[in-house]
Subunit: 329 residues, 2 copies
Amino acid sequence: MIPRALAPGRAGILTASLAPAGTGPVRPCDTRLVKVALLGFGLIGGSIAYALRRNPEDWTITAWSPTGGGPAVARAEELIDEAADSPARAIQGADLIVIAAPPLAALDLIDALAGPLIVEMAPDALVTDVVSTKSAIVARAEAARLRFVGGHPMAGREVGGFDAARPELFSGRPWVIVPASTARYGDRERIEALATACGGVPVAMSAGDHDTAVAAISHLPLVVAAALVESVAGGEGAAARPDWTTAAGLAATGWEGMTRLARGDVAMGAGIAATNAPAIAARLRDLQAVLAAWLVYLDGPTGPDAERIRARFDEARNLLLASDAEAAE
Amino acid sequence: MIPRALAPGRAGILTASLAPAGTGPVRPCDTRLVKVALLGFGLIGGSIAYALRRNPEDWTITAWSPTGGGPAVARAEELIDEAADSPARAIQGADLIVIAAPPLAALDLIDALAGPLIVEMAPDALVTDVVSTKSAIVARAEAARLRFVGGHPMAGREVGGFDAARPELFSGRPWVIVPASTARYGDRERIEALATACGGVPVAMSAGDHDTAVAAISHLPLVVAAALVESVAGGEGAAARPDWTTAAGLAATGWEGMTRLARGDVAMGAGIAATNAPAIAARLRDLQAVLAAWLVYLDGPTGPDAERIRARFDEARNLLLASDAEAAE
């Protein structure tokens, strides 16, 4: 392990941290070398390691994963300082503990950190996470009296795992930050500094607002992609489809694009659905109402209404273009 | 206009056409220079021109479009032999007339070809199309007593128009061929030769089987993409969504992928929906049933059922992987 506290450039950080916010290189908000423990080391955990490693004088990184495979490779590549063989080992002396696991595993880790692992934690250690849902996670941390600020970097790829991790994954992307009631003064800023150091843009939001928003733009699309496959290819929820082979033979880019999310990590999808079920269910009901209206235009007593159908396609397209324009401002 | 009938290489074709099928370079099935008229010159019409131009000794190409813009550019680039200023001019002397227009415009062109334009057509001219739905198109051609073989190359891009046209668009892709009852002996083979010359793989299918299949893998996804936008962003079919701005700010690749089809050509979408409405409506009902089952797992009286949800994501994923494996065989 490289003794980074003694590495050249440390004095420079002390100086840089006195510069006004928003100027100069990105630095963690305190002037110490921050020790980060990553619990979970897939796409997100690995990408955090890559992103922080761009400023090795600011961070030391320890990582643990259930299989140990990713951390071992990362240690051999000197991407991290230590590959820990247990969560207990990983969190020893850590300033920041980042739970970078799927949703249900993250809930278990919160319980473990507030339970058997608490004796291993430094007195002022702060815990955060990167899970796609926030209400259930933050509520669990609060119930466990864990010092916690929830996080959700809005970045992903269609492939998961450490092999897919990239240093630029979070660049310019929102990183939602949701302090728990158990967080202390300055804790939110510590996680904002982590997000910024990773290239992300911190966005403060309540857990409820976050979960409603991501139910719309992330979780509903995930469920719809799976349901589309089931309805066409004949899953549990649908009749057998002997015509699926014919249809699959004609499938082109449209089908591939609309079902790509259904190829993702199954445990992740299930954890997301289970920990944000009410918000997703509400969105699903909204979608069902819209589809019912489409059915009337397609299959009403007077036959298909091409003008109304055109108007609806037009409106959907305009909503997307207006959203593009707003994002570009 | 280059007098291609006199161009070098013509004799070679006469020889090559005597070679056994499946050997040697791809040739149209008769030994004459085939004159193709393209009515409509967007992504598909333009790509057909590019594809045929790879064998200029086999084809002459005339194109017309409502605006005339694409054909003018293509003529200047010598991609086509003539930019016609009217459908009547385009079809004069044509052996093959390819309707490469959106669905509703294609229906009108069928009526025009069987009506006022019939006097301009060569006695043995054959008409085909490239429209995404087949039953309505073929039925219209039969009702009009037009000599017709329907076609549908299963290829597309997310952008339309002549600018998006590419010579390789059809390479290795299925090209569905549906002869009308008004087609004559050998006509199907003439359209198969067109498909093959474009790099496509001819697939014989009934109009009904085609429409059921593409309703699943193409038209249902199109409607779902638009409905997803409406339900989340607040279109005509849904309540106003003041939370849309927040959600849009967090949208990442998943949302973009699931709504890309809703950014496409509105007239095309409306025409597809209007000319294949019963099949799309049937698929939409299947999807509604699947979504209703998801709602039970997400929002049932005993709370979200993570195990069942996981099993459903798993099944959807396995259906896609099994389909990949079958396609790779």
